[in-house]
């Protein structure tokens, strides 16, 4: 702050700095999702995910997320074994409801989100014997490197809170709905990296640590 400014000038300058600009580029943030790693303790699959987001006017956050999902599961009841590991990608936008003209730099965020996501992957599948009820013969299925693919969308909401200078922590809940699926000739996809168990809709979440890269 240059010397010689009056109190009124200082106040006007501060006011100008805080003036809300809808399309101002305010910086970038990188984040890591911890939920996917924790989920492996309660679910059948695991994922690790990172994201890069851009801050437009503290309100709009275009975001690109890249993750890696893997599953190596044997069902206790049926004895079927399914294995897959592949990257997945998500692009979309978050909208911060807390940024107002009178409060352009909120410390805490509540936001809505929309994502378009996709993954191309391969999977292995082994089934126990299937016995012919009439002839009595048994046969089984052992598939390797079956190609699958899926696209899906996610909508949801989340919260981010400032935990230290430059750091936020937050969680989000996401409603996922499958748009396309490409199955193998002898099997339906059971697990989609980044999506979860292959159902027409499912529910997911993230718990992220975010570092805000300052722009100015």
């Amino acid at each position: 702050m240059p010397a010689g400014l009056s109190a009124q000038e200082k106040e006007e300058k501060a006011k100008k700095e805080n003036e809300y600009k809808f399309f101002s580029f305010n910086g970038m943030g990188v984040s890591a999702d911890l939920f996917g790693l924790v989920y492996s303790f309660i679910g059948e699959y695991t994922s690790a995910e990172g994201a890069l987001e851009f801050n437009i006017g503290n309100r709009l956050y275009p975001i690109a997320e890249v993750g890696y999902g893997w599953c190596n599961h044997t069902d206790e009841a049926s004895g079927i074994h399914y294995k897959s590991a592949a990257p997945y990608y998500k692009v979309g936008i978050s909208y911060n409801f807390f940024t107002k003209r009178e409060n352009p730099n909120p410390k805490h965020y509540i936001y809505g989100l929309a994502r378009f996501c996709w993954s191309n992957f391969k999977y292995d599948l082994d089934t126990p014997d299937i016995t012919d009820p009439v002839w009595g013969n048994a046969t089984s299925l052992h598939l390797r490197d079956v190609e699958g693919a899926s696209m899906w969308a996610e909508v949801g909401a989340g919260i981010k809170v400032k935990i230290a200078k430059g750091f936020h922590m937050g969680w989000s809940i996401r409603y996922k709905f499958r748009i396309t699926e490409k199955n193998g000739p002898n099997s339906k996809i059971w697990y989609i990296p980044g999506y979860g168990i292959n159902k027409s809709t499912c529910f997911g979440g993230t718990y992220s640590l975010i570092y805000d890269i300052p722009f100015r």
Binding site: H108, I130, D132, W135, G136, T139, Y175, F203
Partner: protein
Amino acid sequence: MTSRIAKITSMLIAATCIVICGCDGGYDCSIENTAYNRIGFYNIDSNNLESKYEFPGVLTISMVINGRDSIVVNRIYGTSDLKLPVSYANECDTLTFNYENGAKDTLFVKHENIPYFVSMECGTAMYHRILSVGHTNAYIDSVAIVNDYIDYDYDENIKLYLVQ
């Protein structure tokens, strides 16, 4: 500010509950656990070839199972359709139609076997694809494969045109 956060958080929790309730809970496994070859009878002499034909007599059907002729349909009367098992391992199933008057017809159904993983919950199914159908001509005039894929659907696979 605090009350606003509390209000929005409770709205988020309510939205979450709605979303969870609306989620796809899992697979609806088929009630069927065997894929049958579904055969419909039609009268070649009828004016309407699309209309089903009730075979006017007693019919017994046997199949060659592990080298032995085994009855799979015993003395059925007036039937217009059948659902018959398909071998998981053989490439061709042989069906013998034994008519009441001692006449016989044989149907040879050549097929491909397709093991298919449905889901962890529903397990693995065995589907089939009909490649060709051969037959003798005592009462069978001709056959038509109308749906070559045999799965859990109730769709007819083969039309059997019989002489009166």
